[in-house]
Amino acid sequence: MDKRIVIDPGKCDGCGICELVCAAGRSGTWHPALSRIKVKKDPIWSLNLPVVCSHCEDAPCGSACLMNIIDKDYSTGLTLRVLSRCIGCRACQVSCPFDACTYDYRSEKVVNCDLCEGRAPECVSCCPTGALRYERAEYFGEEKLKAAARAAIIEEAEPVPDKDTPGLKRSGGVK
């Protein structure tokens, strides 16, 4: 049942709104460096790659933590930390392959996305391009499956958009 943030880098135009709302909402400042979601920029491809904690089931950050404060919350499936005891050693940040940990230079602690404490994440609701979606992880693949299927039956031409389907118009139509 757990919902997750799904990222479609292809759609991201790097506006950075997600970073701002996250920083503002979760750290109380507009400083993007404090955002738990980060938009990496790739100069070669002028790609924008949003990065956020994927809440691994067996998280590398957790195994690296020197204070054992990162653990899985099995009720929500999220990887959460006991910030009060974080010593800011950055071991987790360095061990996260996705670079999804954020070092809060003010509190000198490392934080990660907690999906706005389980509420619908702000970054998603503010994303103008739809590069970020918040959906049940079971259905990550669905859209791509559909696309793949469409691609396969391409010669059968694009699906008929409903308004063009003849029939009801002729016999009166539904008002």
Partner: protein
């Protein structure tokens, strides 16, 4: 390189979804699409159903996407598999696979994908329309060529 492939002819597929149910049944002892390694996508209003399974890419992105090397590709057979115990469940492979084939098992918390049932895919065994076949790559290509040719002739 005796690589056999799952050859799907969606023109034959009627979308009964038996393959999905059987797949999950033989792999996980449970029936359900969410645990199936093959998925039937139904374009209801076009009257087509397309079974989609792993294309066993030569250069698999899922393999790249895995930060712990839990996705392996067998050099001889080209079969790509996920090692449960290695998987850390970051779901990067799920997001990476361009065909939406990689799926995630939420009960056991790891990714899973088609493993060709050690060489005798059950979806093929149970597909009564022979829409899914397990044939050598060459034959598959040959067929595709032929259908293409037929199309050209008709036009």
């Amino acid at each position: 390189m005796n690589s056999k492939v799952l050859f799907v002819d969606y023109h034959k597929c009627v979308g009964c979804g038996t393959c999905e149910m059987i797949c999950s049944l033989v792999h996980e002892n449970a029936c359900g699409r969410s645990l199936s390694r093959i998925r039937v996508v139904r374009e209801d209003k076009m009257g087509y159903s397309v079974p989609i399974t792993c294309s066993f890419c030569e250069k698999p992105v899922c393999l790249n996407a895995c930060p712990v090397g839990a996705v392996l590709r067998n050099k001889e057979t080209g079969v790509i598999t996920v090692q449960k115990e290695k998987c850390i469940g970051c779901r990067q492979c799920v997001q990476a696979c361009p065909f939406g084939h990689m799926s995630f098992n939420f009960e056991e918390r790891h990714s899973f994908k088609c493993d060709l049932c050690e060489g005798e895919p059950q979806c093929v065994q149970f597909c009564w329309k022979e829409a899914i076949e397990y044939i050598p790559l060459e034959e598959a290509l040959e067929r595709k060529r032929r259908t293409q040719a037929v199309k050209m002739i008709e036009e």
